[in-house]
Subunit: 218 residues, 2 copies
DNA sequence: ATTTCAAGTGAGTACTCACTCATTATTGTT
DNA sequence: AACAATAATGAGTGAGTACTCACTTGAAAT
């Protein structure tokens, strides 16, 4: 997949205007790279323009402010981050026994998000760095998480608790333990120790086994 | 504990010079607060001076550059973050059966680090934000982790694996799973959802049970 | 061929940044 | 009280900041 393709894919939820000029994409690419490397506040618009091979004014033709440019990166990343839970078919896939066990569900989510993280890593870096400092982003995230991710996740867990497959802890705790176990791997694998020699498949097996044992009903 | 006290405690590993003037402490306090709120790059030295009730020049009398000020916050926090593993008595406590089970060890670490995180939260925020952008910090962290934390952790895990208490996964995986499970709680509790109504003791119980089941030998 | 117009430019603008330094205030010593 | 040494000050500095705007370009529409 070429450089432009993945970016267009990340942005495709916003297809309403659809028409991304070449320079606009170059600007986004440069901004993502530099924000990921040095952070939003430490990156100047003149540097972005230089790396994008564009005049500084061109940035402000497409994005009213520097912050608008940040949001144009961060918001699509936010939506893609929780994409599986936003899909309509998603809940059905679970309840119509496409996933017979909680483990099947976890494996599906894992693989899906693994591909996502590998593909969009720089944008995800920017997202997680800047969510700490920008309230609009944090609030958007909270809203999406509560109304989409949490609600669906809850039903899925209650489903498998009723089936007697997983332990009868509070749903919130099961969600948290599931997410931190999966996200903990991604954080270690891609953020904290990206240069360590990982055997991704083996580590996935170990982690999922650990998670299933931890949540097993005794 | 008053405001100055906790800061002095955080800094005490660096007792060689020991003499912290009142203004110097005020500057550090203000810097920690503001770096935690808006980030290092987005905070100006003039703002720090104002909040500290000090002239801007005074900052540069005590810290040669703005980055020196950052390091004066971040390095002590780095050391304190892994403090239990740096203590000489630490390994003894484990091997001389002061901790009979891996669970006892995990509980001890949990409680110790829980107090630490509660106390120094803003400094820890700054540390985790800025480690992503400053190579010196990241390298220091890696060195300390490899030579102190990892080595001791490894021996402890091998000890309990030989006792047949925990599963025979690669040590690296057991360390990672243990840390991400504990750190995952702290991240959710203090960083991502600090306003949620947590029952800390109950959640600790659930999390440790989850961890021990996940790592149990079958 | 002429008009139209969005896309692109880059020098210019007002302002902020980290850092300096001559001057003043405070403290300790005799 | 006189002096020395140190600490603190804040106006000043030049480099850099996000953003503007009068202008150019090129391609499509008439």
């Amino acid at each position: 997949m070429n450089e432009e393709q993945w970016l267009k894919e990340l942005l495709k939820f916003n297809e309403e205007d659809g028409k991304w000029s070449e320079k606009q994409i170059k600007i986004l690419e440069a901004a993502i790279e530099m924000f990921a490397e040095k952070g939003y506040a430490a990156t100047s618009t003149s540097e972005i323009a230089k790396r994008a091979g564009v005049a500084e004014g061109t940035i402000f033709r497409h994005y009213k402010t520097k912050k608008d440019l940040l949001l144009a990166i961060v918001m699509p990343t936010l939506f893609q981050s929780v994409a599986p839970f936003l899909a309509k078919e998603f809940a059905k896939e679970v309840f119509e026994n496409q996933y017979e066990h909680y483990e099947d569900f976890v494996r599906a989510v894992w693989k899906n998000r693994y591909e996502f993280v590998k593909k969009y890593l720089p944008a995800i870096r920017v997202f997680w760095q800047e969510i700490a400092f920008h309230d609009e982003i944090k609030k958007q995230f909270e809203t999406i998480f509560k109304t989409h991710v949490y609600e669906k996740f809850k039903k899925i867990i209650e489903h498998f608790q009723e089936k007697g497959e997983i332990v009868e802890l509070p749903v919130e705790s099961v969600i948290r333990l599931t997410i931190t176990t999966i996200a903990g791997f991604f954080a270690a694998r891609f953020m904290i120790m990206p240069d360590y020699e990982w055997d991704d498949d083996a580590e996935m097996e170990r982690t999922i086994q650990f998670l299933m044992n931890g949540l097993a009903k005794k």
